[in-house]
Point group: C2
Chain length 250, copies 2
């Protein structure tokens, strides 16, 4: 049986969804020593975009974000943080928006999808290996290296920038990498996450000294051996401490 | 000439405003050694609320927040920070909401003000002495000591709590009190702001040592003399440093 096309599903949902508000999700994952972002593409339109969705009329906004991401990643209990609301009028008055609507067969300026949208940005930190990407017919979902993000639909590139900037400021409170890395990891992988988010290389020894002094890591009695790499001690996060720090930003 | 009543102004503004989104403002001021919040009350309803407003259809969301606060405080260039979006369905389904609508003479469940609203929370830090409170007929605006906030309309008490929690986490990056205190101030006033936001007393000497070590303050060659108080050295913020820190959270 053919899955129902995502657009057919969406187009008549005015009765279900709250008008004028969308949710844009910046989903971070870490794999193959690279920080990645999950992007979405619809066959009918040439640009990639952030996974997005809408809020049902009777649904709490946070629940909507969990529902949208569960549908795309298969994950429950994802770590989500609402980081900013985007309400610039330029978002909804571009030639690009007219193009995408026209490709969806929407010519009526009064159609609910043709209205101005304020978007609530959530970022998600997921364990890459646990994600089970799910798509509807007519769409694609793919991980992109964060340094290879293409030009995205609407203001989605700047939404990613804003998410990174919020995470950068939160790094003073909670170590980056928590919720992203697997249970056990070599320190070099955590350093790569820091380097990627900060956009600059870090001195290996300085990083090690500072991050261990922060007290958020536990040194394990295990060695990581991988072909082509030096054996490395494994670490894990002190969950109790990290969760307490997370509480202070929620 | 009688000023037009605020409710008459609002009630037929469906054509002007973006539907389903409001802006709630938590305005902080410091006066008489007390942290204060600006609250709004309409004659027709018994509860105080946060100053709020709506976004014009062609208006950027941030501009709407500036416009709303300029109207109430007379201030341009106010320091505003968008801190959270509130999207719980309970916000708009309460007996209280039915009451306030009924007092406004709105019985039609389809009226734009009777719909569900997602609210974008902005906090503002203002210099108390520069505020020039402006009201429409039928409304009142008043500063409340932060420890004497009454039970407010809807979820407005918890919106204040959330603003405080965001400011607490930002205190690791930018000193509290910046934009709130006048040009020159004794250290004890800054300590009071810290104590109020943290909800606990601080040791005077420890506070002094830490805050001076942070490098955000400049010690002035001036003494503050006020009847009934010990003479005290005056300080000011290092604006360049503080603005740079602010940039990192914007």
């Amino acid at each position: 049986m053919k899955k129902k096309n995502i657009i057919d599903k969406l187009i008549n949902r005015e009765v279900i969804y709250q008008q004028g508000i969308s949710i844009d999700c910046v989903v971070f994952g870490f794999h193959d020593r690279t920080l990645k972002i999950l992007l979405n593409k619809f066959n009918f339109f040439h640009k990639w975009m952030l996974p997005l969705g809408f809020i049902e009329k009777d649904e709490n906004m946070d629940d909507a974000a969990y529902r949208i991401l569960k549908k795309k990643t298969g994950l429950d209990n994802i770590y989500l943080y609402q980081f900013h609301a985007f309400g610039n009028t330029l978002r909804s008055k571009s030639q690009e928006q007219r193009d995408i609507l026209s490709k969806m067969g929407i010519d009526d300026g009064e159609h609910w999808l043709a209205q101005r949208f304020v978007s609530i940005g959530y970022y998600a930190l997921v364990e890459y290996s646990k994600v089970n990407i799910k798509t509807n017919a007519g769409e694609e979902l793919r991980w992109f290296n964060i340094n290879e993000i293409p030009s995205l639909y609407s203001d989605h590139n700047s939404i990613i920038e804003k998410a990174l900037s919020v995470i950068r400021s939160q790094m003073r409170i909670i170590p980056a990498g928590y919720k992203l890395l697997p249970e056990k990891f070599p320190l070099s992988e955590l350093r790569i996450i820091y380097e990627t988010i900060l956009g600059r290389e870090l001195d290996r020894r300085n990083f090690q000294r500072k991050i261990l002094a922060s007290g958020y890591l536990i040194k394990l009695d295990e060695i990581h051996r991988k072909t082509g790499r030096k054996p490395a001690t494994l670490f894990s996060f002190d969950k109790e401490k990290c969760d307490k720090a997370l509480q202070s930003i929620i």
